[in-house]
Amino acid sequence: MSASEVVETQPAPASQVVSLRTVEKTRSPWMDAWRRLRRNRAALIGFVVISLNVLAAIFAPQIAPHSYTDQNYTALNSAPSWIIDLFPKMKPLGAEGGYVRVNDDYILGTDNLGRDLLTRIIYGARVSLSVAFIGPLVSLLVGTMFGMIAGYVGGRVDNIMMRIVDIMYAFPTLLLVILMMVFFRSSLNQSDPGTLAFRLNEIDSRTGGMIFIFIGIGLTSWMDTARLARGQVLSVRQKEYIEAANSIGADTPSIIFRHVLPNILGPIVVAESLAIPRYISFEAFLSFIGLGVNPPTPSWGSLIAEGSNAIISYPNQAIFPALALFFVMFAFNFLGDGLRDALDPRSSKEV
């Protein structure tokens, strides 16, 4: 009796789905979120700043006034007049106690090899933004998959998988990344041609040292996402639509990807977008201590490191890359906040 009831009621939800679809056309949850996001001014500013940075990173060769490797030996440590006016400590050559070469060809001045600082900051955005996108991507791919499988399959599998996460958690992340970078840089360097390690090293040196940063960040950042995804799956697994999908005999992968994933993605996206500033600062930190990108590839972290050595004599060399880092981290934070408000109506002020 009950079985026939189920069979009979089967078409009814189908018609409901159709009617729901017509509603979706006007206002899907994602559209709704976008609408809310647009109304959030801080998030919008963040979005604009990030977009501008992405554009700058992509079109760096077109907009940068110089090449990031070109060294001008007649303009070592030079600064334009407006910077000299801005920092009274920097006295121009010729004045009493003056020591700074004045050169207005370089808008933000040059470094100790006569390389244009503005150009290097623009190119540095490439590294930071790549990390901002690759970091979450790796984290999403690995972490979400891992967490979903653990959460959906449950039982002993869940237990083992989550203990692995616990073990990974036990390592201090920063230390682990530093160890890995040292390992990559020192031992893979000496690997024999033809091996995987050798290829990796080759790709790494072609990309100016970015691949190892991605691997390092990727390997240490997926655990948070995995835990979050598992928790979300556990709460979603009990929902009626999963039961429904199960009852029509959908196989596990299709349930996970078509029914579970879309419903847990919101919180994960929010968590990841809030984690982006952490990835950026991670890269900057690695480059700052000399384990990040290879010279002469500029990254904001390595620019700040180089600039900090000259911070008393030429403050512009440290301050401008630091400002770039500051603004982008803020922008990602604002955007992440905005996304959280937009994707989670319960926390929104409107409701």
Partner: protein, 556 residues
């Protein structure tokens, strides 16, 4: 109200008078302390093991050699040997030692320097036997002395001993205060060489009792004008005046009571100096040099240096095993630009030896002695390399340049990296290591290209060419893994001669092989010394690279 005011006034008076008296009295007792800094890289104050400039400077005030170099004239002068004689064939040196030089040790509990006593309770003095022990220990292969290869050729059976054979060394104590050293060959610089740190005395009882830890402050013994007060590894070292040092004409009693060395990176050193926390620093960051010129021109002294800055090749490694590539890399380095970047009067180097040394060849006399920057020729050599190996430009193996961590090295490495890219189209990867790790890496598995500097220990060309490149292996200073019989024969021949002009002729040929024909190293520039000293420090400026702190003072 009124009463309160009076009380306050009286109180202030009492407090201020107390403050004034204590300030006055402590000033009289307060020791004179010179605060200075070292670049990170812990020192090794074992005379057998020291090899870097910081350790050697300290050893020169802790352990005085048989002979020494005057700090300003670089002329030889007596150390703990009051006089010495040479046999007619120039082989046997007999040194007469000063008597009554006490071995001392800093007693942390008593807070003062005390004499080391023998079993009978009498002060232990420096004896010729201590020299015999010190030299024997340096030449023992188990000690692992990097400078043993410098000393070994000049002591009978030295090289055999270093090779692990049980032999009788040519060092003898004729009596407690007479030391005889026999060399297999004569040479003009031998009196200076026998005064170097690896030929200094060591106290056998202490070294054998404590083993590797005998250099710790708790165990350390010395006899020079300063003693070791404390040594916190990689943090700071403090030397304290040795009141038992018997003043000589050449080495006075120290006037400064304590010298505190703290390990700081270059920028931090300057910051501390500008804040008045350091009295003297021997390095100024590249980025701040122009500002120091403008702001502290009275404290900044730039003088001639004692070292050559160079890149070496490990000739066993991919790519740089080919001489054409090495030559191309060397010629592509624009040395004029390098000294322009460095901005402190450094001199471009086309060959290895410092031109100021005895028997050094000069460019004017030997026009094709050096390798010079030449972009067109560099490209020719690069093409020759490609043809040699039968590869195209994009099949060149990955080349790695390694330097020890420092902003100045990093700046130069990036400048040279760019020169190689512009001239040869070759992308070289740069890696960095801390100095101690860098040194170990070079001893056992040097990367393709590595950075080093070499400073003279005694002012003779032999100390550059022979002492660095004659031998090969982890216990030598030669990390190139390169050997050339012709080069070695030239050096061996020059070693037997005493006429400086004739030696210069041979050294010129050897240099040509080293930097041009085989191009195993890239000479880049000759250093200058850069000092910032507070106006109240009364000091000498050592031309030897090793400051003689016992001659310094602090004025009020």
């Amino acid at each position: 109200m009124r009463k309160g005011f009076v009380v306050l006034l009286v109180g202030l008076l009492v407090i201020s008078s107390v403050l004034m008296t204590t300030a006055g009295s402590t000033k009289a007792q307060e020791p004179k302390v010179l605060y200075t800094a070292l670049l990170p890289g812990d020192v090794k104050i074992d005379p057998s093991l020291a090899s870097d400039a910081n350790s050697i400077t300290m050893l020169n005030v802790l352990y005085v050699g048989l002979t020494g170099l005057h700090d300003e004239t670089v002329a030889i002068e007596p150390g703990v040997a009051t006089e010495w004689t040479v046999s007619d064939d120039g082989l046997v040196y007999t040194f007469t030692l000063a008597q009554g030089v006490s071995w001392v040790h800093y007693d942390a509990e008593a807070g003062e320097v005390v004499q080391v006593m023998d079993e009978a309770g009498a002060p232990l003095t420096l004896k010729a036997q201590d020299f015999v022990y010190g030299i024997t220990r340096t030449l023992n292969p188990n000690t692992g002395s990097e400078y043993s290869s410098v000393l070994a050729p000049w002591v009978v059976n030295g090289q055999e001993s270093l090779a692990g054979e049980a032999v009788e060394l040519g060092v003898k104590a004729l009596d407690d205060y007479t030391l005889e050293i026999t060399s297999p060959q004569p040479a003009g610089f031998l009196p200076m060489l026998y005064g170097l740190w690896m030929a200094r005395p060591q106290l056998q009882s202490v070294v054998e009792e404590f083993g590797d830890t005998w250099t710790e402050a708790a165990n350390y013994v010395s006899y020079g004008p300063y003693a070791l007060k404390s040594w916190e590894h990689d943090v700071e070292v403090t030397l304290i005046k040795n009141p038992f040092w018997a003043e000589t004409m050449y080495i006075p009693q120290a006037k400064i009571d304590e010298i505190n060395f703290i390990y700081l990176e270059e920028p931090a050193q300057l910051t501390a100096y500008e804040a008045g926390e350091l009295d003297w620093i021997a390095t100024v960051p590249l980025a701040d040099l122009d500002r120091m010129r403008a702001e502290r021109s009275d404290q900044l002294v730039i003088g001639p240096g004692q070292c050559t800055y160079y890149y070496g090749f490990n000739v066993l490694k991919d790519g740089v095993s080919n001489v054409h590539l090495r030559r191309a890399l060397s010629m592509a380095v624009d040395r004029d630009v390098i000294v322009q970047i460095l901005n402190a009067g450094q001199v471009p180097a086309g060959f290895f030896t410092l031109p100021a040394l005895a028997a050094a060849p000069h460019q004017e006399d030997y026009p094709d002695l050096a390798i010079w920057s030449d972009a067109a020729k560099a490209q020719e050599e690069f093409q020759a390399y490609l043809a040699d190996e039968g590869i195209t430009a994009d099949q060149v193996p990955q080349i790695t340049l390694q330097h020890n961590t420092s902003q100045a090295h990093a700046t130069l490495a990036q400048a040279i990296q760019q020169m190689w890219k512009d001239t040869l189209g070759l992308e070289v990867q740069i890696t960095t290591q801390d100095f101690a790790v860098h040194q170990e890496t070079m001893r056992f598995d040097a990367p393709q290209i590595w950075r080093l500097g070499w400073c003279f220990d005694y002012p003779d060309t032999h100390n550059f060419l022979y002492d660095v490149f004659r031998f090969v292996g982890p216990d030598s200073n030669n990390h190139t893994n390169w050997e050339n019989p012709e080069f070695q024969a030239l050096l061996d021949e020059a070693k037997t001669m005493t006429d400086n002009a004739a030696r210069a002729e041979l050294y010129a040929q050897a240099e040509h092989i080293l930097v041009y024909e085989d191009a195993v190293m890239i000479p880049i520039y000759y250093y200058t010394s850069i000092d910032l000293t507070q106006p109240y420090v009364v000091r000498t400026y050592a031309q030897t690279g090793n400051e003689r702190f016992e001659k310094w003072d602090l004025s009020e």
